[in-house]
Subunit: 120 residues, 2 copies
DNA sequence: ATGTCATATGAATTCATGTTCATATGTTCA
DNA sequence: TGAACATATGAACATGAATTCATATGACAT
C-alpha cells in the first residue's frame, strides 16, 4: 500500500519513465537535500559571506565586524545568530566583549569550490 | 583623497583597530564576495538542489524532472532558467523535447563539501 | 546601586524570490 | 494549415528573510 497523500502536482506526461525511475531510486532522502539547501542558503548572502571571510582571517568581536563591514551592530548580531545556528561560527565571552570565530574547517573548502566556479 | 560617499552606518566604537585594519587588507574585493554569495544562493533552494542532484545522475527533460519532483512543469522551467543563468546546467533540443544536464564538474564537489558539514 | 559600554533580541518594515496561472513559442504530425 | 504536445515566459501572489529601530540583557567601573 503506497502513500497517497501527496497531490499530483505535475501537469506533464511522463516521457522517459525508465529514466525517472532510475533517478528516483538513486535520489537521497528528501530531508538530506533539504538540509543541504538550508546550509547553502546560509552562504547565499553577501553579508554572511563577508563575515565568514573576515573570521577566516581572524577572530573578531561583533563591533569590529560591524565597523569592518560598515553595518550596524544589530544587523551583524542578527547574522551571527544565523551563522551560529548553522554551526559555522562559535563565540567566547571576554568581559563585555564577545569574540566570534569559525567553527568549521570546511568553510574555507566551500569557499574554494565556489571560487573555482566563479573563475570559470 | 578617499571615497567619502559611503554612509557611516556603524553605531559602534572600534575596539580592536589593528585587527580591523589587518582583516580589511586581506579581504577580497566586494564584488567577488557578492558573486560568491550569488552562486550559493542558487544552491540555497531545495527544488534547485533536487534538480541538480537528479541531473548528476542523468540527463533529463523538463517534463521528467517535473514528474520526478512532483511539481508543475512551469515551476521546474523557471528554476532551470535560474540554473542556466548561473552556468550550472546546459540544454539541448531534440524535437519538442529539451534535455538538461549539468554544465559544471564542480557541482558534485560543492555537494560533497556541504554534506561533510551536514554529517558533522 | 548606577551609569556606561558591548551585545542580543523582538517587532515592524521593506525587499527578494518561489510558485501559480494564463498564455506564448516552437516542434511534430496528420 | 491546424491540432497536439513540450517548453518558456510574464504577471500576480504569497512567503521568507535582511535590515532597522527600540529596547533588553549582561558585564564592568566608580
Amino acid at each position: 500500500m503506497e502513500k497517497r497523500d501527496e497531490l499530483d502536482r505535475c501537469d506533464c506526461t511522463v516521457i522517459h519513465e525508465h529514466v525517472v525511475n532510475a533517478v528516483k531510486m538513486k535520489m537521497p532522502p528528501e530531508e538530506d537535500l533539504y538540509d543541504l539547501a538550508e546550509l547553502f542558503k546560509v552562504f547565499g548572502d553577501s553579508t554572511r559571506i563577508r563575515i565568514l571571510w573576515a573570521l577566516s582571517e581572524s577572530e573578531m568581536c561583533v563591533c569590529d565586524i560591524a565597523v569592518l563591514l560598515n553595518m550596524t551592530q544589530s544587523a551583524i548580531s542578527h547574522q551571527l545568530r544565523v551563522l551560529k545556528q548553522a554551526k559555522l561560527v562559535k563565540n567566547r565571552r571576554d568581559g563585555k566583549v564577545v569574540f566570534y570565530s569559525l567553527d568549521d574547517d570546511h568553510v574555507e573548502h566551500i569557499f574554494e569550490e565556489g571560487l573555482v566556479h566563479i573563475n570559470e
